[in-house]
């Protein structure tokens, strides 16, 4: 076995254990530097793995311990997982760099160590969700993500953040309860927990037509639980407050990454456990499609009415998550590719927008209403640029990441059956709605506002924002290669 195959296990353990080392340091700044350093290492390792796997066109399973497949825990990695790990670690580093000042200001000095621990545990749990092939392991790491994400919200000292954190926790617990019951039901009728063995067992059950009701109900329960956790439209009530009241880095990570972690599990359920054909016969994919379609429109309409910049961005996250559901619900390979593209594009774009908005809010002395942000982009030019590019990307300006994802989705919709017209209509309407709230916002921040100090130049923040911009443009222009990579990854998933 090549040495590089150890990378998934090694990166998960490295991240989790680096989080556990932090309490030993008494100097506060070390924590942040340590976790960023570890993330750089993980990003580099994932890049190496990605190059190797996509070059060889293979995927592999890695047994955790001395015991083979159905007995021990298993990790599974192919090009798609490596790509996701790479993008996630990049987003994590850049968000933490761009939001570093806000962390120092918003989080009390004696709590910054704990904050770093929790962020790193969150990242570790996301990595584990990407790589794991075992449903129960996935559940455990979902819970870690729930606990730590909730604390990422509450780390900022304000009454509002505690209120939104508790709502977040309530919904998280509801979601994980449903997921756990779904896993238990599935275990009850198949006796397996590993995805690969589950797939066989489920196929057998479908062929012999036994236990079909529990099977469908378990799929429903898990889908419902995961869509509550990823704030898909009717269940998004907790999202805007939680994401808006957190500190900048937390908002960027929560919106960009945490929601996607749950969707990756959903993707695994669809592809590895139930299989697309079962979903089609039980109309599950139509359900996903309709959820996505309504979410695209309603969440965008809700975003229109927001007077706070971060609330608006948070609602827009819910709308963008719906695109992923739409892609999953199309039920075709192209739809799945589009969903994965949207996962990557939205991870990059949304965290960039949050970071840019954080810089602008800082430049306006903490005001987060639109009227206070008038002219903020002149005070924090790179932050304003990041917000502008991100907004335009979500509206669908060509050559940016958001456009490529939408294009992918539109191509996928053309091949679908009855879904073509509604999907295209939804895409168009939601793009118009996106433009309706992002364009006025962009005009407002570049407009003439009250005079203020320019935000002092910090390499940490400006560098991170510039890299964000670069990544976004790369993801938008390198449409072909990225799409091929995803396609290869999905074939090997």
């Amino acid at each position: 076995m090549p040495l590089t195959y150890n990378i998934p296990m090694f990166s998960i353990l490295l991240v989790l254990m680096s989080a556990m080392v932090i309490p030993f340091f008494s100097k506060k700044s070390w924590g942040l530097n340590l976790i960023r350093g570890v993330e750089v290492v993980v990003a580099a390792l994932s890049a190496v793995l990605l190059v190797q796997l996509s070059g060889a066109g293979e995927s592999f399973t890695y047994q955790m311990g001395h015991f083979p497949a159905p007995w021990g825990n298993l990790l599974r990695c192919g090009p798609l997982e490596a790509l996701l790990a790479l993008v996630f670690s990049l987003v994590m580093i850049l968000s933490l760099c761009a939001g570093a000042e806000d962390i120092r200001r918003d989080v009390r000095a004696d709590r910054q160590g704990s904050y770093c621990v929790l962020m790193q545990l969150l990242f570790g749990s996301l990595l584990a969700m990407i790589y794991t092939d075992d449903l129960f392991t996935a559940y455990v790491f979902i819970e870690i993500a729930a606990v730590t994400a909730c604390m990422a919200v509450v780390a900022k000292e304000s009454g509002r953040s505690v209120v939104s954190a508790i709502r977040y926790l309530i919904f998280s617990c509801l979601g994980s309860g449903l997921v756990l019951l779904g896993i238990a039901l599935l275990y009850c009728i198949t006796g397996q927990l590993l995805c690969s063995s589950l797939e066989q067992a489920v196929m057998e059950l479908v062929a012999t037509r036994t236990y079909s009701l529990p099977l469908v109900v378990s799929a429903l329960l898990m889908t419902l639980g995961l869509s509550i956790k990823s704030a898909q439209f009717p269940f998004h009530a907790w999202l805007p407050d939680a994401h808006a009241s957190a500190t900048t880095a937390s908002s960027a990570v929560l919106s960009g990454l945490v929601l996607k972690g749950y969707l990756i599990i959903l993707l695994k359920l669809i592809l590895r456990v139930y299989g697309p054909s079962l979903l089609a016969t039980t109309y599950m994919d139509d359900l996903l499609f309709l959820l996505g379609l309504t979410g695209m429109l309603f969440a965008s309409v809700a975003a229109l009415r927001q007077e706070e910049v971060k609330s608006m961005i948070a609602y827009s996250s819910s709308a963008q998550i719906s695109y992923i559901f739409l892609g999953l619900g199309l039920g075709t390979d192209a739809g799945l590719i589009a969903a994965c593209y949207q996962i990557l594009a939205h991870a990059m774009t949304k965290s960039m927008i949050f970071s840019g908005a954080g810089a602008m809010i800082r430049a306006s002395g903490g005001g987060h209403y639109w009227s206070q942000l008038r002219g903020a982009a002149r005070r924090a030019p790179l932050g304003g640029l990041a917000f502008t590019v991100g907004g335009l990307s979500l509206c669908g300006l060509p050559l940016l990441a958001g456009f490529s994802a939408k294009y992918c989705l539109a191509i996928a919709a053309l091949d679908a059956q009855w879904q073509t017209a509604p999907a295209l209509f939804g895409l168009a309407a939601s793009s118009v709605l996106n433009a309706m709230y992002y364009i006025p916002a962009i005009l407002a921040i570049w407009g003439r506002g009250k005079e203020g100090e320019r935000l002092p130049w910090k390499w940490e923040r400006e560098g991170a924002l510039a890299l964000f911009l670069l990544c976004n443009v790369v993801l938008g222009t390198a449409f072909g290669p990225v799409r091929d990579l995803i396609e290869q990854g999905l074939n090997l998933f």
Partner: protein, 125 residues
Amino acid sequence: MLETILQQRYYITAVLLFSIGFVTLFLHPNLIKKIIGLNLMDTAVFLFLASMGYIEGGAAPIVEEGAKASQYINPVPGGLVLTGIVVAVSTTALFLALTIRLYRQYHSVNLDVILMLAWEGKAED
């Protein structure tokens, strides 16, 4: 029918408890009750799992050398439940800590009242 009900008694209790706990966590305005609901929900799933592992006539899985698997109950659900219990207690502790923090600020454990106070506070900023 009645025989099946009697046979599946554990599963039936578990799903009843799950629905009670789920709704309490979802809709009860009192935060303490919500946390109790969370615990009910989790223990319900654990009961479901634990009863799934039971085999009539099986012994606890303290194995002896050369024994047949059929002498014992299935140990897998037991292990899962052990993991789950600890996860549940962690979430509960976090939830309770958040409740205490909220109470310090709003002097209430009723989520509706808290939300109302928070909204008023926001409007007056």
